[in-house]
């Protein structure tokens, strides 16, 4: 019989943890994004690969440098900045000049994340902050799209990709319009089959809805994403655009078109559902999703831009703290009391 001679550790309960961890959650989000990322590279070739690599590299480097400069241990190991880099890269036009990609990546992390206090404190989705700044700074480059599946996409680059910093990118002959732009400016509807599979032009990662949904379902199954957010966004978009479509099918796009075109899938699944910027209560999540869906339909239908998901999500992020406050649960044992008083 031996008596333990070593020191006993004293901690307060609970003495066991679920085993879930921030870095595991973040790593799984990265995993869920891999099919979409692979498809983006497959569809846009070298241009897609370079854009995504530059986006991730610039974001990770920025985070690491900021940690070093402020004397904190590097936080790139928690994978959250990798998600930011990937999402940011996936929302960019594949032929965007690489120097612009790098500038945007720096803005994502420096302005969108570090400035607010780092992981957990960033009110707005960092990837969208970077993208929004680019949209304002380089409106032409940010709306110049190349078609997917071009011949020779793995051997040659669009001339715009390697534009020198601070020079006007030369516009390629091979640009094409996104389905949303086609609808907005010439009322041309793209078939849903092409939209859902990703055989259209658009941002690097927004074209294949099927793969996006696949990644989302994986995260939902692992309880690493709140399904209420994408569900509420989709339901709102379908309801609103469906109602509009019924009143005048030639003027208003069909709900299916709205759902599968542009950045809605990617935004709803991976950006609106980002834990940091979304509400914590279930009711808050429904309201948040409804707001994003509503603003998206408003901008797409009556706004000057063909796409509005980005602004809708940023607005949703801004409202999140209020939604949380308004939708707090009634604490156990306080219901009867307040009803009586």
């Amino acid at each position: 019989m031996t008596t333990p001679s070593k020191t006993l550790e004293i901690r307060t309960s609970p003495h066991i943890l679920s085993g879930n961890s921030v870095d595991t959650i973040m790593f799984n989000v990265v995993l869920a994004l891999l099919p979409v990322t692979a498809f983006a590279v497959y569809a846009f070739g070298l241009a897609g690969l370079l854009t995504l690599s530059m986006a991730v590299t610039s974001c990770v480097l920025t985070e690491d440098l900021i940690c070093r400069a402020t004397g904190k241990p590097s936080t790139i190991g928690d994978w959250s900045v990798t998600i930011t880099g990937l999402l940011y890269g996936l929302t960019l036009p594949p032929a965007l000049p690489l120097w612009m990609v790098a500038v945007g990546g720096l803005i994502c992390v420096a302005m969108g994340k570090a400035l607010f206090g780092g992981l957990g404190y960033n009110t707005f989705n960092p990837a969208l902050v970077g993208r929004a700044v680019l949209q304002a700074a380089f409106p032409v480059a940010m709306t110049t799209w190349i078609p997917g599946f071009m011949a020779g996409r793995f051997s040659s680059l669009p001339s715009s990709t390697l534009t020198l910093p601070f020079t006007e990118p030369t516009v390629d002959a091979i640009t094409s319009a996104t389905p949303l732009a086609l609808w907005k400016f010439s009322h041309e509807a793209t078939p849903i089959s092409e939209l859902s599979m990703g055989f259209v032009s658009g941002s690097a990662g927004e074209t294949s809805s099927v793969l996006i949904v696949l990644g989302g379902v994986y995260l939902i199954a692992r309880n690493m994403m709140n399904w209420r957010i994408p569900a509420s966004i989709f339901a709102t978009v379908i309801a609103l655009s469906g109602a509009l479509h019924l009143t005048d099918p030639s003027r208003y796009a069909s709900p299916m078109f709205m759902l599968f075109s542009g950045g809605l899938m990617l935004g709803a699944m991976f950006m609106a559902s980002d834990m940091v910027g979304s509400p914590m209560t279930s009711r808050g999540c429904y309201l948040y999703g409804a707001l994003i869906g509503l603003v998206t339909v408003l901008i797409r239908t009556w706004g000057g831009l063909p796409e509005g998901v980005m602004y809708a999500i940023l607005l949703g992020n801004a409202v999140t703290p209020h939604l949380d406050r308004w939708t707090q649960h009634k604490v156990y044992g306080t219901r009867g009391k307040e009803a009586a008083s």
């Binding site: 019989m1 031996t2 008596t3 333990p4 070593k6 020191t7 006993l8 550790e9 004293i10 901690r11 307060t12 309960s13 609970p14 003495h15 066991i16 943890l17 679920s18 085993g19 879930n20 961890s21 921030v22 870095d23 595991t24 959650i25 928690d78 959250s80 780092g118 992981l119 957990g120 404190y121 709140n226 834990m275 940091v276 910027g277 979304s278 509400p279 914590m280 209560t281 279930s282 949380d324 707090q328 649960h329 009634k330 604490v331 156990y332 044992g333 306080t334 219901r335 009867g336 009391k337």
Partner: protein, 450 residues
């Protein structure tokens, strides 16, 4: 609220149950330690007053301390032996408390001494309450609240439903499970006493779905003249908290800061009920209790009937522990308190002894990340607090804001929020500190008003 045919409450968590290794093991009698150290404060309330002196010889079951007022209970000798000392002894939190050091006689037959019986049929409710206090009965689920205090229904109040808590949602522990299987008759006798005292018309025995044999066993033996039933509840932590039971079984909520009596309900742990049924007919007192000794570091796990006052060191030596043991708690891993020393002893409130090794403890050594607002804690909290917001306030020491605006004092420290937090923020630990600070801040004011 009903889900898949079993009742439950909203929210909660699903820790690994880890009960399989001991749930099938019958209760075994534990030997006497060379010296039993019986603290005179084993319950919530005033310390008991010793009625024996150093050098006295006592017989097993004899009263060795009497209650000091209503909020106190008697103590009984766990063994026939000699009182060596009445002196201070360490308690679970590290504080020194008065205790009786009893040295059992090695050759004694250890027969239990009976007291004045309290027959069920002829005793009045007041007599039963006095007998329960005299038997030293406290909540054996872990809270150690004097049972007779809970049973005292004040003028103008009434109880319609008695709930017998056999949920045992705490991982690892199988004490109540074994008691339900092996002391079934005691449980029903105890219920009859409790019904008579409380005036309740109906009894519900609540069992979690992971103990189907216990539920079946109780149903088969349920006396036909008792008005009540056995309810099987979904396996979910903290289903065994009485507030959760009222919500799940009756759809009622105890008002914030109120008592179960406010909703005409009463909840009693099944092991406590069994002790009442076992002791009162003979006028005996609690001198031992059933304890699950388990955990990855324990070699001979099991359910033991252990004399009160058994030193933790003797207990662990007897069951054997692994070399790399590094944490021992009294109770289970969700709400149990870490033992600060092996010199503390088993008390009436000890429902289990769990020992962990280094490797099993690894998961709690993870780095702390900032809150990522995942909302897991919000979905876990059984009383619908926002642990995320409370955690941020606690980090800034905004204790009064926590209490006044965010219902801090309603937290009963089940630990669900800390369990699920992927950032490993010690939420409930912070709330404990905050509650202590709030109580401290309000105490002088109360004193000044008197």
């Amino acid at each position: 609220m009903r889900l898949l045919g079993t009742k439950t409450f909203r929210h909660g968590v699903h820790p690994p149950e880890s009960k399989d290794e001991t749930s099938g093991l019958s209760i075994r009698q534990f030997p006497f330690a060379p010296v039993l150290i019986i603290p005179l404060v084993q319950h919530m309330g005033a310390p008991s007053i010793p009625v024996v002196a150093e050098g006295d010889e006592v017989s097993r079951g004899q009263r060795i301390a009497r209650a000091d007022g209503f909020m106190s209970v008697s103590m009984h000798a766990p063994a026939s032996g000699i009182v060596r000392r009445i002196a201070l002894a360490p308690s679970i939190g590290g504080r020194m408390v008065p205790a009786v050091y009893l040295e059992p006689f090695p050759g004694s037959t250890q027969e239990v001494e009976d007291g004045t019986p309290c027959p069920l049929e002829t005793s009045t409710p007041a007599e039963i309450i006095a007998a329960i206090q005299d038997a030293g009965v406290v909540g054996l689920g872990g809270a150690a609240f004097p049972t007779h205090v809970k049973l005292q229904v004040p003028e103008g109040k009434f109880v319609d439903t008695l709930i017998i808590n056999g949920v045992e949602c705490e991982p690892y522990l199988t004490t109540d499970h074994r008691v339900m299987l092996e002391q079934t008759d005691d449980v029903f006798t105890g219920i009859r006493y409790l019904l008579k005292v409380s005036g309740a018309k109906k009894v519900i025995i609540a069992v979690e779905a992971n103990k189907p044999d216990a539920a079946e066993h109780l149903r088969e033996r349920f006396p036909s003249d008792l008005n009540g039933c056995v309810e099987v509840l979904e396996v979910k932590y903290p289903q065994g908290a009485e507030k959760m039971l009222f919500a799940a079984l009756l759809g009622r909520e105890v008002p914030s800061g109120g008592l179960p009596l406010d909703i005409h309900a009463l909840c009693c742990n099944v092991a406590t009920t069994a002790e009442i049924g076992r002791l009162l007919p003979f006028g005996r007192g609690i001198q031992e209790r059933v304890i699950t000794v388990t955990g990855p570091a324990v070699k001979r796990k099991g359910n033991y009937r252990i004399p009160i006052g058994t030193p933790l060191r003797f207990l662990l030596e007897h069951v054997g522990v692994e070399e790399d043991v590094n944490r021992v708690f009294l109770g289970g891993p969700m709400m149990g308190a870490a033992a600060s020393s092996l010199d503390i002893s088993i008390t009436k409130g000890t429902s289990g002894v769990t020992a962990f090794t280094d490797s099993a403890a690894e998961r709690t050594h993870s780095p702390v990340y900032p809150c990522i607002r995942c909302g897991y804690c919000v979905d876990a909290c059984p009383i619908f607090l926002d642990p995320s917001v409370l955690g941020r306030l606690a980090a800034n020491e905004e204790f009064s804001v926590m209490a006044e605006q965010h219902h801090l004092m309603d937290c009963f420290e089940c630990g669900s929020c800390s369990f699920v937090c992927p950032s490993h923020i010690p939420l409930v630990q912070r709330f404990r500190a905050a509650k202590t600070a709030v109580r401290k801040a309000s105490a002088p004011k109360a004193g000044a008003a008197q």
